[in-house]
Symmetry: C2
Subunit: 235 residues, 2 copies
């Protein structure tokens, strides 16, 4: 843990980012700079700067008591998917066009791991394989700005994704869509990839919305009402 680059901030940032991608941080957790700092045996500043960067990128929100993973409202989900719909089908089509055998092998390997994990109901493995699949095809996108933007928008859903995969029916449908995209990649058909990605986007949006709606309802019944997340949204 903590090797990338010779820069402490980047190292901490990468570490936290990975934890977030793996849904290893729950929205109820509080990330505190001092904790992270002496967990890694460093001072507050690098940890703080990494946290601040995650805030400015929209992954975390600052509260009066530590940093927390950002929870998406239903509007957030709709809005984020509107952007994803504009970008991902097109990007995936480009990826299909410019696909190399190496990357093709990677996405196939990731797809296999996804199906294996689905069969074993191994949610963490499913999450990880899902991330791998996405990162693999994004590698074939020649436009780094496009790839980075997409990556970022997908990562916003980490806090919801866990819930999506918890329900077997939803997970199955999600993975089915993924596998259809995978097949289209193997067929080297950019347009088929584009179309299937478009369909996938709509299905995914609905899945996330329903999961999030249920989460919000549960939270409502559990706690009558309370919340206190201040300013510091920045962006």
């Amino acid at each position: 843990m903590l090797k990338p680059s010779d820069n402490l901030v980047d190292a901490i940032y990468a570490d936290l980012r990975l934890k977030l991608q793996r849904s290893a941080v729950s929205p109820t957790d509080r990330l505190v700079d001092t904790e992270i700092a002496n967990a890694h045996g460093i001072s507050r500043m690098p940890a703080r700067e990494a946290l601040l960067r995650l805030v400015s990128e929209g992954y975390l929100v600052g509260t009066t008591r530590g940093f927390a993973v950002r929870e998406l409202s239903l509007e957030d989900i709709s809005g984020l998917f509107e952007v994803r719909r504009q970008l991902e089908p097109r990007a995936a089509a480009c990826a299909a066009r410019d696909m190399t055998p190496e990357i093709e092998a990677e996405i196939t390997a990731a797809m296999n791991r996804v199906e294996l994990a689905l069969g074993a109901s191994d949610i963490p493995a499913l999450l990880a394989a899902n991330v791998d699949f996405r990162n693999a095809w994004l590698k074939a996108v020649n436009n780094p700005h496009m790839a980075a933007t997409i990556s970022r928008f997908i990562d916003y859903f980490q806090s919801v994704r866990l819930g999506t995969f918890a329900d077997p029916a939803t997970a199955y449908q999600y993975i089915d869509g993924l596998s259809r995209i995978h097949a289209a990649f193997l067929a080297h058909d950019p347009l088929m990839v584009q179309d299937r990605m478009t369909l996938f986007m709509f299905a995914a949006e609905e899945a996330y919305l329903s999961v999030r709606r249920r989460q919000l309802e549960e939270a409502e019944t559990a706690r009558p009402a309370r919340r206190r997340i201040q300013k510091r949204g920045t962006a």
Copy 2:
């Protein structure tokens, strides 16, 4: 100067961001935390954090000797426009659909200022009015994620825009495209807005590419070869 929020980092960030939007920082300038700090009468840390944020957002790059505005390669320009083409026509169409009379008045006012500045060949005013026009129609975009992403992508071009407006012919053509978009907004025709924005995107890409190409050539002839911008690109 330096009022927004009760937070020094945000204040410095906003100040720098504005300077960048106005092209008030040349790529040869070096932004140094200590300078900014005692220019504002504060310590290094807030200035440094603001700079770091601009780096992580891609507006600046860290060098071994201060921070500098990021210079776009021709590939960057093409890549950035590929993303803009996916987002802006659609977003503008939504803006046209959801336009309010207040915002319509704003974009008209901005458009008038653009034409006034164009007539007077007042480049700084043209730059400012152009920013205003964009910000005005983005206000009508109900999806904040969409609006923020677009805003960000547009802002990457600040270092090139100055060059675009310097050439009267290019500036005229650019502004003509803008005015056609404005007319479409006034007609409340989302599809017309969408189409015209699409055309505008292609024209703008070409304009930026040719300006940047010329800049690079000039730099080449002036200085045989040299450059030293290190790692720290982050994101």
